[in-house]
Amino acid sequence: MSATANKPSNSSETDSDQLTGARLTELYRMMVLSRHLDERVWLLNRQGKAAIAASAQGHEAAQVACVEATDPSKDHYLIYYRQFTAMLALGTEPEEMLRGFLAKEADPMSASRQFPLHGAHPRVDLFNFSNVIATQLPQAAGVALADKLKGSDAATIVYFGDGASSQGDTHEAMNFAGVQKLPVIFFCENNRFAISVPQSKQMGIDSLASRAAGYGFPGVQVDGTDVVAVYEATKAAVARARAGEGPTLIEASVERLLPHTTDDDHTRYRTAEDIERMSKRDPIQILSDLLKRRDLITEAEDEAIHAEAKKRVNEATDTVDAEPYPGVETMFDHVIEGSGGNS
């Protein structure tokens, strides 16, 4: 892997060493579930039941492939608010996702103190402390530093968007990770927009991955709609981390198919041509076409995958919609050790 940005390759036409056709189909199934659940959450917002949602539509392939290349039994995941698919891929049930969006008592991430996708996962070492952009990058360096001192071969994967790349915390974290050769993977999902501000107004370069050279570790740019390309880039980065060779910056180029959040309207700042063009890079459609081209699924099987996902989402919605909201009595818990009634 070189320290400069590699051109995206079209690698999904054949099996990679470890990503078989059967496994590709499973990842597709996960992406489709994510898409249906994501669409449901937007509907719940329009019904007034979900206060806010940020969509992962367009980011699904990058997230599912990145997770596939890691080991959830020991690795650490510092996510940001658009990691909808990554959370599902890491074993979060649709009900658990919906509990966050509907602010229900049983929300496993934060007991509904925080926005959806914020807090800490009860089973996987996945967390997202705040809505402040890029704060997770220095924290990821700290997590990785602890592993290095403990002699663990775990990798730390920290996700962020192109918007976060402008923050000082991003520079500080990458610089320190390079100095200390920390086992951290900086995984940037570049959808070219920080809410409304296009990449051309965020940076004077074409590829974020090229910044890695300034920190002394490799940076790779991959097509974030290409499951196999993302998987292979992440696999190589994980291998580097486990071998003590230091960080990697991965820039996965993706599309944000929907506005920034349910409170945004991207027609105010995106051209009709841009919106039309990005729809051709829908990772669900791209992988569906690929699986059929490689005879891994039939049209009927594809329809069944969608039907199954929709059924799963319907069941989860019915279940969670009927669940209670947290009462006032738990809001005093867990401020510091010993506070509240539940600490």
């Binding site: 650490h76 991430m109 934060s110 007991a111 103190r113 925080q114 914020h118 807090g119 800490a120 996962h121 009860p122 967390f127 402390f129 705040s130 402040v132 704060t135 990058l137 220095p138 924290q139 990821a140 360096a141 700290g142 997590v143 990785a144 530093l145 602890a146 592993d147 290095k148 001192l149 403990k150 000082g168 915390d169 500080e172 974290a173 610089n175 320190f176 100095v179 818990d333 867990h334 401020v335 510091i336 050790e337 539940n342 600490s343």
Partner: protein, 327 residues
């Protein structure tokens, strides 16, 4: 019992804690071979190596963000901020992030981290080596803030901070580092966070204070004693949570409250102490709750004459005591 300076107590406490718990690490600017700009970590890198005594790049947000990440992954980091005045870039990682880790994850994650911060003036530090920064942290639920004034308290409170399972800001007044000496037992002990201490018992009025001003207040109390005024000095020691019971008990008993601080008074620790006394001791007071602090200026001029005019002094405190006692 051996006598130590504050800086010696800080250094020995970090060394002791690093010996008793190998998850304790120290990180910050110049903490390695230099031993810290105040020599708080002198000799530690030689004993514990560069994996546990980490010279960081010059980046305060990084220092606190890395400490937070390491804390949630099983370590007990001590982050040293070189001067309180340089701390503002790290505010987000502390107030925005660390303070809310336990609450925002419903107790799934915790952040057992300590941030040591040399603060305060009277050292010809000018605007950017003299600041008092306690108010923002003391305002923040989820953080604890301690401000030891003596070597004994520095050891006991720093040990408590390092062993705490939540983030603690330890404010070390840099003028006390070498000025203040005191007896420090060599054996292990801690002082609970959230407990004030009467440093001088008295009956006529109480001074509520912390940090360097504890020592200035004790000197002023001696001056007042020569005039027959018996002054109590209550050292707050912890600024969050304030020891409201100790504050109310002393104010009710002496009936007169003088709050002394080096920080500018508006919306400050003295405001909060005054509120506690007003709420809990109203009918026991024999005079107005009185505050003594510097003028409302950016702290503090480099000019020695202006610096002295800015800082509270034993003489200024004595004047305030006399005025309040006569009411």
């Amino acid at each position: 019992m051996p006598e130590q300076t504050v800086i010696e107590a800080v250094r020995d406490t970090m060394r002791n804690e690093m010996r008793r718990d190998d998850t304790v690490i120290l990180l910050g600017e110049d903490v390695g071979s230099r031993g810290g700009v105040f020599l708080a970590s002198d000799g530690l890198i030689e004993e514990f190596g560069e994996n546990r005594v980490i010279d960081t790049p010059l980046a305060e947000s990084l220092i606190c963000g890395v400490a937070l990440g390491a804390a949630v992954n099983g370590l007990r980091p001590i982050a040293e901020i070189q001067f309180a005045d340089f701390m503002w870039p790290a505010i987000n990682q502390l107030i925005g992030e660390a303070s809310k880790v336990r609450y925002g994850t419903n107790g799934v994650k915790t952040a057992p981290m300590t941030v040591r911060v040399p603060y305060g003036g009277g050292v010809r530090g000018g605007l950017y080596h003299s600041q008092s920064i306690e108010v923002l942290f003391a305002h923040t639920p989820g953080l604890s803030v301690v401000a030891p004034a003596t070597p004994y308290d520095a050891k006991g409170l720093l040990a408590s901070a390092i062993r705490s399972n939540d983030p603690v800001i330890v404010l070390e007044h840099k003028r006390t580092y070498r000025l203040v000496k005191g007896e420090v037992p060599s054996e292990d002990y801690t002082i609970p966070i959230g407990k004030a201490e009467i440093k001088r018992p008295g009956t006529d009025l109480t001074i509520f204070t912390y940090g360097l001003m504890v020592h200035y207040s004790l000197q002023a109390a001696e001056m007042a004693a020569a005039n027959g005024i018996d002054v109590e000095v209550l050292d707050l020691r912890t600024l969050r949570p304030l020891d409201a019971d100790a504050i109310a008990e002393s104010a009710s008993r002496t009936g007169k409250a003088l709050i002394v601080q080096e920080d500018t008074p508006a919306v400050s620790i003295s405001s909060e102490v005054a509120a506690i006394i007003g709420e809990r001791c109203f009918f026991d007071l024999d005079g107005p709750i009185t505050r003594l602090g510097p003028p409302e200026l950016p702290p503090m001029p480099f000019s020695p004459i202006q610096e002295a005019a800015f800082m509270p002094s034993p003489e200024k405190i004595h004047t305030a005591i006399t005025k309040l006692a006569e009411i």
